[in-house]
């Protein structure tokens, strides 16, 4: 019965997302010159920072959400009568 109070924590998923996010940041910081060169060109290249922002936000954003869940920091649960 008490299991209904404790959802399983997403350890595996968080680890995979964490590695993916770290990989993205590693790639970004280790190729700064090339990236700055292309992203700073402007014009049609404007799409590059936008796409990058979306990719980073989904992977890292999902990771950070799970990160707090694992630490036990979650939204208040709605109860009946509330």
């Amino acid at each position: 019965m008490s299991d209904s109070y404790e959802k399983k924590k997403p350890y595996g998923k968080t680890a995979i997302l964490g590695v993916a996010a770290a990989g993205l940041y590693g790639a970004l910081l280790s190729n700064q010159d090339v990236i700055n060169n292309y992203f700073g060109k402007g014009g049609m290249f404007a799409i590059l920072p936008i796409i990058t922002a979306f990719i980073f936000s989904f992977i890292h954003g999902t990771f950070t959400g799970n990160f707090w869940t694992i630490l036990g920091i979650e939204a208040k649960k709605k109860r009946e009568g509330k």
Binding site: M1, S2, Y5, A21, Y25, L28, L29, Q32, I35, N36, N37, F39, G40, K41, G42, G43, F45, A46, I47, L48, P49, I50, T52, A53, F54, F56, S57, F58, H60, G61, T64, G65, F67, W68, G72, I73, E74, A75, K76, K77
Partner: protein, 362 residues
């Protein structure tokens, strides 16, 4: 075009950590009140030697993905009015373009000091009027002891909701009423204009949704994230066309702010609605003092008052930045405290429930 790329600074570990932490605090506040943080992030980047326009562009490019993640999170809690957010977001986009146009004209006519004076004056005026009003309202609710009572729409909001202009009426779930888009468009436009001027459109967007349209605080601050997303996406693309976005800066700030925004969003589920107003009002009023300190500097640069000594200018700038950072830290402190207390109370409820269940079994 390559000139912009040359403007991109070298990043070392200290810079990265600094941006990550400022990003985290900015994200925490944004997740909670729907915006904020940008007014510290842009000067923080500039203090590292990033040129002003690159700082503004990179801030914007971290803002829209952050707002998107925050909006998705808060939508899970049922706090987002997507329709209102998109309608106001599109009109805000127009406001941003117009606001930027005004800025350019002022810069052409009066130079950098004139443009800075205009920005600071807008800061002080808007924050004094709106921030003062929001803080007073939060204080009144706190004093009345009715902090649990449901928020009531203001008289102005009721009046606006009662007006029927055929062909323009749209139902908004946050208001549970139909309102003419002829009212939401100017509000969105003003939000965008403020965003283009002081970087934080939410200081007009959120209070206008609460007091003018009649949205509950929690829904207004969550819906602001949708507005920020629409506005930020358009703005980032515009700056990226000129090659001004430093993606490294944007993504490093995003790294911190995505931790913060998730936490700020979680925080909203533990607090009473007046807390949103309290945090927002407090930040606005403190920031107001920070900007007011800079007005003499710009006035002296324009020779409208006696020139200030170099030392005085430096001190005023430093104090102004510290007060701004303090505003954000105060906001972050109130939010973290609310989360901590909320979690503690929640755990007690759960452990009591478990205990009761355990007894029931035996």
């Amino acid at each position: 075009m390559h000139e912009a790329a040359l403007n991109f600074i070298n990043l070392d570990l200290i810079n990265i950590l600094y941006l990550f932490i400022v990003g985290f605090i900015g994200g925490l506040v944004s997740g909670f009140i729907g915006s904020g943080g940008a007014f510290v992030l842009t000067p923080a980047m500039m203090s590292l030697g990033v040129p002003g326009l690159v700082a503004v562009a990179s801030n914007m490019c971290h803002k829209f993905p952050k707002a998107l993640i925050g909006a998705i999170k808060r939508a899970k809690y049922g706090q987002v009015d997507v329709k209102l957010g998109i309608i106001m977001g599109i009109s805000a986009e127009a406001g941003v373009l117009y606001g930027a146009h005004i800025q350019e004209n002022i810069k052409k006519a009066f130079g950098d000091a004139g443009s800075n004076l205009y920005v600071s004056a807008a800061f002080v005026l808007v924050l004094a009027l709106v921030g003062g009003f929001v803080l007073l309202d939060a204080w009144k609710t706190y004093r009345s002891g009715n902090t649990d009572a449901e928020e009531k729409a203001t008289k102005l909001a009721k009046w606006i909701q009662s007006i029927n202009i055929p062909g323009t009426m749209v139902y908004f779930k946050s208001l549970n009423a139909k309102v003419s888009v002829l009212f939401t468009i100017p509000l969105g436009f003003a939000t965008g204009m403020l965003a283009a001027t002081i970087a934080v459109g939410g200081f007009v967007g959120v209070p206008s949704m609460i007091y003018v349209l009649g949205a509950p605080s929690l829904m207004a601050s969550a819906t602001e994230l949708v507005i920020a997303f629409v506005m930020g996406l358009g703005g980032s693309f515009k700056y990226a066309l000129s090659g001004l976005v430093d993606i490294r800066l944007a993504m490093i700030i995003l790294a911190g702010s995505l931790f913060g925004i998730q936490l700020g969003a979680i925080g909203t589920t533990y607090v009473k609605p007046f807390m949103i107003k309290l945090v927002m009002g407090a930040i606005m009023v403190i920031v107001l003092f920070s900007r007011a300190l800079m007005i003499p500097v710009y006035l002296s640069q324009l020779n409208l008052i006696q020139p200030l000594t170099e030392g005085a200018v430096k001190s005023l700038k430093a104090v102004s930045f510290v007060i701004m950072a303090f505003a954000l830290l105060i906001g972050a402190f109130i939010i973290l405290r609310a989360i901590w207390q909320g979690l503690k109370a929640e755990r007690e409820v759960v452990s009591r429930a478990k205990e009761a269940l355990g007894h029931g079994k035996i």
